[in-house]
């Protein structure tokens, strides 16, 4: 049985990915921000880990717990890590580490979790990053990555998603010869609560965009495709571009 870990699995895209992969016979684990969050999810036999992934201390703790669990159930191997937890913010807000929250959750959390689970993944494992098409036309602001000089919440969001794509590329450059493959998924516009949780103008704008989004079960198919496909197939898909 192949083991899959999905972060941000308590709502939206993550929850549908969890549901689909569970139905397809994977051993699924979810990471939830709060203990109550997991109770909302009606997918059977999910192993839950609870942690606020915005805080690096928590990412490290969750990683320790996942590694210990993998040791028990799958000889320490992880088939797929799906870094999907994400947020949108309306203003500059920081984490306990003093990082801008969107950058910390949408990018750094996945980076650190992957880093900590890497030994478990280097047996033909795959890493899926929930990216977005919003990265287009955006660059990384290397001199002020957290955008403290001129904060624009949307720019911060887009940049964090661009970093997810660069991270997937970086993983492939470094580890594809050791059997690991990384993918960035553009889920398209999806009708989820992501913007509702931010408040202010971002919430307002999202209330107009959201109804045009697809149901989260649609992009879930893309994740399933990437998990099910044999790797050579994936390479050809990659050339033609996977669209959700």
């Amino acid at each position: 049985m192949k083991t899959v870990v999905v972060t941000g699995a308590t709502s939206g895209i993550g929850m549908e990915v969890l549901r689909l992969l569970s139905r397809e016979g994977y051993r699924v684990a979810g990471v939830s921000r709060t203990a109550e969050g997991c109770e909302r999810v009606d997918v059977p036999d999910v192993k839950w880990f609870v942690g606020d992934l915005m805080q690096q201390r928590e990412v490290n703790r969750v990683a320790d717990e996942i590694n210990a669990w993998l040791g028990e159930v799958s000889a320490g191997k992880l088939y797929a890590l799906i870094n999907n937890a994400g947020c949108a913010r309306n203003r500059y807000t920081t984490t306990e580490d003093g990082y801008e929250q969107q950058f910390a959750l949408n990018y750094l959390a996945g980076f650190l979790l992957t880093h900590r689970l890497l030994p478990a993944l280097l047996h033909g494992g795959r890493v899926l990053m929930t990216a977005s098409r919003s990265h287009m036309g955006i660059k990384v602001h290397w001199n002020d990555v957290m955008l403290r000089r001129r904060y624009n919440p949307l720019t911060a969001y887009k940049q964090s998603k661009l970093c997810d794509i660069l991270f997937a590329k970086g993983l492939n450059d470094r580890y594809s010869e050791e059997g690991l493959r990384a993918y960035a998924v553009d889920p398209g516009l999806v009708n989820t609560a992501i913007g509702d949780k931010s408040g202010g103008i971002v919430k307002f704008v999202w209330s107009f965009r959201k109804p045009h989004g697809t149901d989260a079960s649609v992009p879930a198919e893309t994740y399933s495709l990437l998990c099910n496909a044999k790797q050579p197939e994936l390479l050809s898909l990659r050339r033609t571009g996977v669209q959700s």
Partner: protein
């Protein structure tokens, strides 16, 4: 440049610590929360490579502060700047609040701030020293349903203004920051959202308040009220009779409070 920041694990303290770290200042950070201190220490060291020392301490306990000071003296540290951020807030009627919790607001916001300021002035770099007090826009009005907190803030403003005069000749500058709401915690975000229009126009951007506070303090300024609209309110606070201001604030706050309490998870 050595900077001490109190309340450094909280939202504003963290943002100011990051600002100082980005300028290359070395930091001594204190807060009551040891975990939060550990996180911010790591985050700042990673991003900026400056020296960061942390010491968790309850500033309302003189003996705990003495232990921290002994630590500082053992290391032989002298400071160029003190930023007093530590403070607590409470929303609700005076009688809904636990008695000692109510007193604690004053013992931390005022008494402990005096304690640490006195101690750090004794350990200052004699060439030039800067003190920042974090008061609040609330210092300009009496604020029903936040009465103890709002009353603790004019104390700081008055004290700072007087202290500045006393120490002018010793190259010490004192700045008082009087911000309105900022999105420092998830709870603060909710309260701001519940205030609707008023929340939006009075809320200050955390990153720019942090930057400008340090800028202005070093430039020798006295008072910083961030935001044009808030400066207007501060001016109004001086004109309007106190009891009228209290009545207006009460109406607005009781509405907003009902709204954000309803959105509480």
């Amino acid at each position: 440049m050595n900077v001490m920041i109190t309340g450094a694990a909280g939202g504003l303290g963290r943002a100011i610590a990051v600002e100082c770290g980005s300028r290359g200042y070395d930091l001594f950070l204190t807060d009551i929360a040891p975990n939060g201190l550990e996180s911010i220490e790591l985050g700042i060291k990673r991003q900026f490579g400056v020296n960061v020392i942390t010491h968790a301490c309850d500033l309302t306990h003189a003996s705990a502060v003495d232990i921290m000071l002994a630590d500082i003296d053992r290391m032989g540290l002298a400071f160029d700047m003190l930023i007093n951020v530590a403070g607590i807030d409470f929303e609700g009627g005076f009688l809904t609040q636990d008695r000692e919790a109510s007193v604690k607001i004053i013992s931390l916001n005022d008494a402990a701030t005096l304690r640490i300021t006195h101690a750090m002035l004794g350990r200052r770099n004699k060439v030039r020293f800067t003190v920042v007090f974090v008061s609040s826009l609330a210092s300009m009005f009496p604020m029903p349903l936040k009465a103890e907190y709002a009353a603790s803030k004019p104390f700081l403003l008055d004290f700072a203004t007087a202290l500045r005069q006393e120490l002018k000749a010793d190259s010490v500058n004192v700045l008082t920051l009087c911000p309105a709401g900022m999105e420092t915690t998830p709870k603060a975000t909710k309260k701001i959202a519940a205030q609707g229009f008023w929340g939006d126009v009075t809320t200050n951007a955390l990153e720019s308040v942090a930057r400008r506070t340090v800028d202005r303090a070093l430039r020798g300024r006295t008072l910083y009220v961030p935001g044009v609209f808030n400066r207007l309110l501060a001016g109004l606070g001086r004109l309007v009779p106190r009891s009228l201001a209290a009545a207006v604030v009460y109406r607005r706050r009781s509405d907003a409070q009902r709204r954000w309490m309803n959105t509480e998870e």
